[in-house]
């Protein structure tokens, strides 16, 4: 009985083992970006490149020369960002962004900006299919 199934069980267990090891090792690396809260509490300032993600705080966006100054928040902490480089088309106040660069403990200096749009597909009258449930959640 075991002889019949070892051909199946051996690759299955090897594959499962690789998958588990991969998951454990990647679980920290698979985090694509850090939040402002994490930068303040967990991530030590250094010259290493990292990614910061959050929403652009309304009223904080300012252009000064080549630089775009903005504040990014995760709802708890807000972090000032100085961005030099291309500004994506969908960039706007309140938009989710991911910036790539270095953090010195006070300001995040980025040269690459990505847009992280949400999973909602609203029409221009600002509805989603399950809007009743959604209102209940918010109140």
């Amino acid at each position: 009985m075991i002889r019949r199934y070892w051909k199946f069980l051996l690759p299955a267990s090897v594959l499962l083992g690789i998958l588990v090891i991969l998951m454990i090792n990647l679980s920290s690396n698979l985090v694509y970006f850090h939040t402002p809260t994490e930068l303040y509490t967990e991530v030590a300032p250094s010259s290493d490149r990292l990614r910061l993600g959050g929403q652009v705080v309304a009223g904080t966006v300012e252009e000064s020369g080549e630089m775009l100054v903005l504040t990014v928040t995760d709802g708890r902490e807000a972090l000032p960002v100085e961005h030099t480089g291309v500004i994506p088309q969908l960039f706007a106040e309140g938009q989710g962004v991911i910036v790539e660069g270095t953090w010195d403990g006070e300001t995040f200096r980025s040269d690459t900006m990505l847009i992280r749009h949400d999973e909602q597909y609203r029409t221009e009258d600002n509805q989603i299919y399950d809007s009743v449930d959604h209102q209940l959640e918010e109140s």
Binding site: L19, L90, L114, H117, E119, Y129, D130
Partner: protein, 242 residues
């Protein structure tokens, strides 16, 4: 064998469904946050749905082969995986075009994108494995193991956006909480249905082709067998025996 067949009702239905879905896709209301680039939704979601469906069919057909030992199940498994690989590729390419328009990058190594790429390569490996084994029985036995194991990775692929922080947005379709407005949702469901018809039509053609391949292989084996045997038995004429 029939030489040139007329397209079946299924082929016609597939074409009509896709054209119809295209009309809905192009006339559906604009997505407020993204504008017209969000119309990529109507290609991206149905193609990755087909990839999931195709690999699930490969999984079921592989189990069915191991239980029944009927080669036809293996032919379905192989045919379906081939379609799955094509549509995974289309989903990735469509996603890249969409990503450039919204995220500002074609590709990045976040969890969803990386795991989807791995899934594509595992199933390309599955197809390579099938080509490497000429004997139909051995091919069916060995590839069915990979066809079953391969499906496991669909779970991390699908939930990667929930389990890890990614650039890719989280799942829009959450149980009883769909983050999409009605008209867009309707157009998307029509598109998913249309692509599913395309899958069924493609699978039928590929399966028929696989059956012809198998028949040709068996016919060749039947005629080649005695020829090879003759070559071996020829020296025995000179000897005393036989």
């Amino acid at each position: 064998m029939t030489s040139r067949r007329r397209p079946s009702w299924l082929d016609i239905a597939a074409v009509v469904a896709v054209v119809g879905a295209l009309v809905f896709a192009m006339t559906s209301p604009r997505v407020e946050a993204q504008g017209d680039s969000a119309r990529m939704l109507f290609i991206h979601v149905p193609t990755i749905w087909l990839a999931y469906l195709a690999f699930a069919v490969t999984f079921i057909a592989s189990i069915a082969y191991l239980v029944t030992k009927k080669l036809n199940w293996d032919l379905i498994a192989g045919s379906s995986a081939e379609i799955g690989v094509v549509f995974t590729t289309v989903a990735i390419i469509g996603g890249m075009i969409w990503g450039k328009a919204t995220w500002n990058v074609y590709w990045t190594w976040d969890a969803r994108l990386t795991l989807t790429a791995i899934m594509l390569f595992v199933y390309i490996g599955y197809l390579a494995l099938r080509r490497a084994i000429p004997d139909p029985e051995a091919r069916a036995r060995r590839s069915s193991v990979l066809g079953i194991l391969g499906l496991v990775q669909l779970i991390p692929v699908h939930f990667s956006v929930t389990w890890w922080r990614t650039l890719h947005q989280t799942n829009t379709f959450r149980p009883r909480d769909i983050q999409m407005d009605g008209p867009i949702l309707a157009a998307l469901l029509i598109s998913v249905a249309a692509f599913t018809v395309v899958y069924v039509a493609l699978l039928r053609h590929r399966y028929e082709l696989a059956q012809l391949d198998l028949a040709a292989h068996e016919a060749a084996a039947a005629t080649e067998g005695p020829v090879a045997g003759d070559a071996v038995s020829a020296p025995s004429i000179g000897s005393s025996g036989a």
